[in-house]
């Protein structure tokens, strides 16, 4: 078994266009959620989101690239560029042949689908651009990362709705741990803030019209966001031998399936994933200082998640901190676990725990230390990141300070 460390991190999300600005925003408890600027927003009943404002694709990519890169692929490539640059790795020879990419996304090229359905159904056009299929496919981002950085080993995309990124990073972790690959580029991306993407979510009646307030008694639903987080997972011995700066260690991962309901979460399923991840990490539950919650701000998730945490941790549940950064960046669906892993890294490396903003009133069913509204300085040795998807698919990662 190989130890696995993170040697690079990159992101673009509603809080910032890189890791440093995202950390700064999380420390300040900034809100990246605001009015949506998309086509036909007037026909939506939900008109807010964690949208990346002021984004200009032509500042980053040329005409030929834009013809091939959906917004979710663009976000992935920008995040990967930052992460791989930080790692200092260049992929040649045997390292290139054995290293790969595993990314999570739920909607893939949803903007491309939305735009082209408009063209053929609404505008009545009978012809679409020749690259629509390679632009919209869910594995487009992973493939473009592999091409851009010459990653020639195992590469694929994981789609498990809101747990996609955590499932992807769990695969990357286990592939490096078992020696299948010395380096895996991993994380996830989502760009679902288009008319069709939001209209579909509206139907479920679980979206908030004003704000995401996880764990607060006044919460009234989730808010969608967009963006990407990408990390370099590397064999510890490989990283040490080249003198790489290590951000933290990945020490455990577990998955579970509720096998119960297509949308309603299960306390038992969540608890089994959390307990399983700690067992995989061979860590006592008392070692955990911070949990980045799934914390969607829906009635169903937040109370189920808090009950699962209370079940697994017992009295220690009252000693640890648990916050939901979705209050700041929204729910990035298939990319959410990747951006939220940044909050875990910030807690371990910088000793700053990101807050749950928008918190107004305690809810007795969520009676944990949710780090309300203001970030907190704390010495955290072990951090967990929870993701619980529609379909009852759960994935929890454990990180440790290096």
């Amino acid at each position: 078994m190989h130890r696995v460390v993170i040697t690079g991190a990159g992101t673009i999300n509603p809080l910032g266009a890189d890791v440093a600005s995202t950390f700064a925003a999380m420390r300040e408890g900034q809100c990246g959620i605001g009015p949506l600027e998309i086509a036909d927003v007037g026909r939506l009943s939900i008109q807010i989101g964690g949208q990346i404002k002021g984004y200009d694709e032509t500042a980053h990519f040329n005409r030929q690239q834009i013809a091939l890169y959906d917004r979710f692929t663009q976000f992935t490539l920008l995040a990967a560029r930052e992460a791989i640059a930080q790692s200092g790795l260049s992929f040649t020879g045997d390292l290139a042949d054995r290293s790969g990419v595993v990314l999570g996304t739920s909607g893939g090229g949803l903007n491309t689908q939305d735009e082209n359905y408009r063209a053929v159904y609404e505008a009545g056009k009978n012809r679409v651009h020749p690259f629509i299929v390679p632009k919209l496919m869910n594995n487009a981002a992973a493939s473009h990362v592999s091409m851009e950085w010459n990653l020639r080993g195992p590469s694929f995309t994981v789609a498990t709705a809101c747990a996609s990124s955590n499932h992807a990073m769990g695969q990357a972790f286990n592939m490096v741990r078992c020696g299948m690959a010395p380096v895996m580029v991993t994380g996830g991306s989502e760009a679902m803030l288009c008319f069709g993407g939001i209209k579909a979510w509206e139907g479920l009646r679980v979206m908030s019209k004003d704000a995401c307030r996880p764990f607060s008694a006044t919460r009234n639903g989730m808010v969608q966001g967009e963006g990407a987080g990408v990390f370099v997972f590397e064999d510890y011995e490989h990283a040490k031998a080249r003198g790489a700066d290590i951000l933290c260690e990945v020490v455990g991962f577990a998955m579970s399936s509720d096998a119960a309901d297509i949308v309603m979460p299960s306390k038992q399923g969540a608890a089994r994933a959390i307990a399983g991840a700690l067992k995989d990490a061979r860590l006592a539950k008392e070692s955990v200082g911070y949990i980045n919650a799934h914390g969607t701000g829906t009635a169903a998730n937040d109370k189920t998640e808090c009950a699962a945490v209370a079940d697994v941790f017992g009295p220690h549940a009252d000693q640890l901190m648990i916050s939901s950064t979705k209050s700041m960046h929204g729910h990035l669906i298939g990319g959410t676990g990747a951006v939220e892993l940044l909050a875990c890294i910030m807690a371990l490396r910088d000793g700053v725990v990101a807050p749950t903003i928008g918190y107004e009133e305690p809810d007795p069913e969520c009676a944990l230390d949710v780090v309300p509204n203001v970030a907190r300085d704390a010495n955290v040795d072990v951090a967990l990141s929870n993701a619980f998807a529609f379909g009852g698919l759960n994935a929890v990662l454990v990180l440790r300070k290096h």
């Binding site: 009646r205 679980v206 829906t298 009635a299 169903a300």
Partner: protein, 86 residues
């Protein structure tokens, strides 16, 4: 069909019961409609009556749309249709 009969037909279909089995005083819970079934019923009501029903599954009781019983839903639909000029 009048409003009452249409609402009962929608709820009966969701509950997989005969319309004659639905009583006005029944709660949705009585007839086995869960939160997903409720969201689907509201969608069917909006489509059938061409109205917009204000309803957030996170705070069902905070809505003006009273779902405490089948009869309450019939009254709420009647009121919404009048308000929305249908």
């Amino acid at each position: 069909m009048n409003i009452k009969e249409q609402v009962i037909a929608i709820i009966a279909e969701q509950a997989m019961l005969e319309p004659s089995d639905i009583k006005m005083e029944n709660t949705l819970e009585d007839i086995g409609i869960d939160s997903l079934g409720l969201v689907e019923s509201i969608f069917a009501i909006e489509e059938a009556f061409d109205i917009a029903v204000p309803f957030n599954a996170n705070e069902p009781s905070a809505s003006d749309f009273d779902i405490s019983s089948v009869g309450a839903i019939v009254d709420a639909v009647t009121k919404l249709r009048a308000e929305q000029g249908k």
